[in-house]
Amino acid sequence: MKNNIKVERAIKNITQQQLADYVGVSRQTINAMELGRYVPSTLLALKIARCFETNVEKIFQLEDGD
């Protein structure tokens, strides 16, 4: 699964820490997601989408082979 959290963050101009505080996880978790090392739970994905005021599919997309 790929995501564009980093891009969305840049658009909204917020840091990893600010996003982490908003969705209630550690900054390391946000970083691991941006690097594609961690696939978030549905709950976390929905929270992130809410932070960027958009749909989950806009931020997280399936890749070939998923």
């Binding site: 990893q16 996880v25 900054r27 390391q28 978790t29 970083n31 690097l35």
Partner: protein, 206 residues
């Protein structure tokens, strides 16, 4: 190994009782147990808010407790039973069995309780360290925790198989004794390294 254990525990009568069970009954009991466990697990999946972890302060308490009990453990390792301090007190035993003697059920005996205190202390402190929340505990840490636990179980089983194949005699019992703790120790090492790496090799944000 199992037969040796049965012999040690003197469970001959129980074994013959088990044989008296018909196959059908055994099957029913097995199904009952399996289905109960499955139901239990499925209920867990619905209620995922419970994580069975201690509050994060317990971790510090665990490390503090580990120091005295770890030293006691080393003391027990490097001394023989004749040459060390003994704490002989009467204790209640569900089963008591010495080599060469018969087995006694539900009796009071006199026993040196230093090793019991050490083991219980070690287990409690290791459990506190292993199963307390991290300062920032989220779902990613939970996943690392789960992976580390599976890893520790697998490695521990491999070590056990290795010992089972190549180690014989009384040393084997001592290794089994240590094996009870090694699973927690392996888990703690793996988990702490994973969390440390997460902090250390974290890519700096721009």
């Amino acid at each position: 190994m199992l037969f040796r254990l049965l012999h040690i525990l003197n469970l001959g009568p129980i074994k013959s009782e088990l044989n008296a069970f018909s196959n059908k009954n055994v099957k029913f009991v097995c199904h009952y147990v399996i289905n109960t466990l499955l139901l239990h697990r499925n209920l867990k999946l619905i209620n995922m808010t419970k994580d069975y972890l201690f509050p994060s302060q317990f971790q510090k308490l665990g490390w503090i407790l580990l120091a005295p009990f770890g030293l006691l453990f080393l003391y027990l390792c490097f001394t023989t039973s004749g040459s060390r301090v003994e704490l002989n007190v009467p204790v209640f035993a569900i089963i008591n069995n010495d080599i060469g003697n018969s087995t006694h059920w539900f009796t009071f005996i006199k026993n040196d309780i230093l090793d019991e205190i050490t083991y219980i202390g070690l287990i409690v402190s290791l459990v506190f360290i292993a199963f307390s929340k991290e300062e920032c505990d989220d779902e990613f840490i939970l996943e690392i925790r789960r992976n580390s636990l599976v890893w520790a179980l697998l490695i521990n089983s491999l070590i056990l198989i290795f010992c089972e194949l190549f180690i014989y005699g009384f040393v084997f019992l001592e290794i089994l004794y240590f094996n009870l703790l090694s699973i927690l120790i392996l888990f703690i090492i793996k988990f702490k390294i994973a969390v440390y790496k997460l902090d250390k090799f974290d890519e700096d944000e721009e």
